[in-house]
């Protein structure tokens, strides 16, 4: 039920501090996104390649191990990334807004 998916995304993106939600396939192509098209493509390309490298790093350190979640904290926001074998959920949030007030 696609509308279920869209409800979930709407709920996520309405959370305080959440700036954007993107779902990518394994090639970094967007299936859903609340960011503008240009930024979506940028995130798709860069974040999926970062996840790729992180996966490689983890399995090089221990070939029995695998990435399950990635949190990139930056000066401006936090990027949360939930990967599985096929898809990638990216949520960009501003922790200050979530936490304060």
């Amino acid at each position: 039920m696609p509308s279920e998916v869209d409800d979930t995304l709407k709920r996520l993106s309405n959370r305080k501090g959440v700036k954007g939600v993107v779902i990518l396939n394994g090639d970094g192509q967007a299936i859903r996104s609340t960011l503008d098209p240009e930024l979506t493509v940028k995130y798709g390309r860069l974040i999926s390649s970062l996840v790729q490298q992180t996966r490689t790093t983890i399995s090089t350190l221990d070939d029995q191990n695998d990435l399950t979640f990635l949190r990139v904290r930056t000066k401006k926001h936090e990027i949360m990334i939930a990967p599985d074998r096929e898809y990638l959920l990216i949520v960009v949030q501003n922790p200050a807004e979530t936490m304060q007030a």
Partner: protein, 58 residues
């Protein structure tokens, strides 16, 4: 980095979005993210690396 980066077509998106694997993924991953968003305490709130702010509320 200048390679072709094609957007998915509307039909391709529709097809993916209707698979059980995709629905499962959205369900599980969104729950994990929601839980992470629910963390009330921001461990970095009073810190910027390189700038030390004293505050201890453990």
């Amino acid at each position: 980095k200048s390679e072709e980066f094609r957007d998915l077509t509307e039909e391709e998106r529709k097809m993916i979005v209707s698979t059980p694997e995709f629905l499962d993924f959205v369900d599980t991953s969104s729950k994990v993210v929601e839980r992470a968003l629910n963390e009330k305490y921001d461990f970095m709130k009073d810190y910027t690396l390189g700038v030390d702010v004293e505050s201890d509320e453990s």
